[in-house]
Symmetry: C2
């Protein structure tokens, strides 16, 4: 199985390529990409070789072609539907976040436990959590986003898993437990900050 870091790099390459394309760049070399993404050129070539992406010796890679190949590997050829559970700060921000559409993900509904937050007329309608299960199965939702407090997160994951969601993005600051029918990616803001502080301190120590 291919490591997560490798897949993350592919995404970064693709991002960088979009920028190069915007600047009118047509042909690119491994070292240009490497610099843009902060890795070595052989890392870039090795990553590509793993997925059978090939360029031309002395000719580099065609930006357009490479983008398509990466899109293909990263699997965004059909639009996927997602729901958010939790209409708090983070949940609401994600409902209005435009970056997901660009990536082929549409957020079609949100769910919360608090009736004051219900709003079936909104752009992204907010329903009661009791509707989650039927909504997911009726609308063939593949992706769930968890934006509830830590205590409720495991329960929400179980609901989603049971309803047939295939992948979950979890914003609750807790390690969730899932069987291997479902993929869970954690985005833990507190952990990221803590991590940042560690490296700030480490870098201060190094300079002494």
């Amino acid at each position: 199985m291919i490591g997560r870091n490798c897949i993350v790099r592919l995404s970064r390459y693709k991002n960088a390529l979009y920028q190069f394309k915007k600047l009118g760049v047509v042909k690119i070399f491994s070292d240009n990409l490497a610099e843009a993404v902060n890795v070595t050129a052989s890392q870039v070539r090795k990553d590509f070789s793993i997925f059978g992406i090939s360029g031309n010796k002395r000719g580099g890679y065609q930006v357009e072609v490479l983008i398509e190949q990466l899109k293909d590997i990263l699997g965004k050829n059909e639009v996927q539907k997602a729901v958010i559970v939790g209409a708090g700060n983070i949940g609401r921000a994600l409902m209005n976040y435009t970056g997901f559409e660009k990536e082929g993900i549409t957020i079609v509904a949100a769910f919360d436990i608090d009736p004051h937050k219900f709003n079936e007329q909104a752009n992204v309608p907010i329903f009661g959590i009791d509707k989650l299960n039927s909504f997911i199965s009726n609308n063939k939702i593949t992706i769930g986003i968890i934006a509830v407090p830590a205590v409720a997160a495991q329960q929400v994951l179980d609901l989603m898993e049971h309803a047939g969601v295939k992948g979950v993005l979890n914003f609750a600051p807790i390690s969730l437990r899932a069987n291997n029918n479902i993929v869970v990616n954690n985005i833990n803001l507190e952990l990221e900050l803590e991590n940042l502080i560690y490296y700030i301190n480490a870098s201060a120590r190094t300079k002494e």
Copy 2:
């Protein structure tokens, strides 16, 4: 230098330990922690050994002591001040996010380019971006959070770096370039979703 994954695991151990503590657990073994965090028991022990954390053979580790040791390593013994640049969806969500306080980080101000968003009276006041530099130096801000669109992100980072910020949490979906006076952690929501989709597809392929 110690790998990022290792530091991330330390944070996860600490999180798990808080939960155990809440349940009244006093003494814990490497395999309990391992299970909670989804790693092997020897990974736990190896991680601890790197940082000179030791327990008792057959007696495991004292939950309270372990939490303190981890807090110490992760460096959260003094409250740090942070500012947010960008008062859009993500920026506003982060201003109201209560999880940071718990981790010893206080968000003291936000900055935006749009005068409609200015609000010096708010709980977290929102100023014009032109005030960023002086605010950071006058208030000895160590942490910056970038929540602006991708095109503006590099510029904001440069401003922060120049003003003396030590670490940055970047939410803009772009690879930023910084010299090594400053630590940058990226949280790229689009990339995480893309990554999730890759693994959903990969897991579907495996099952065929």
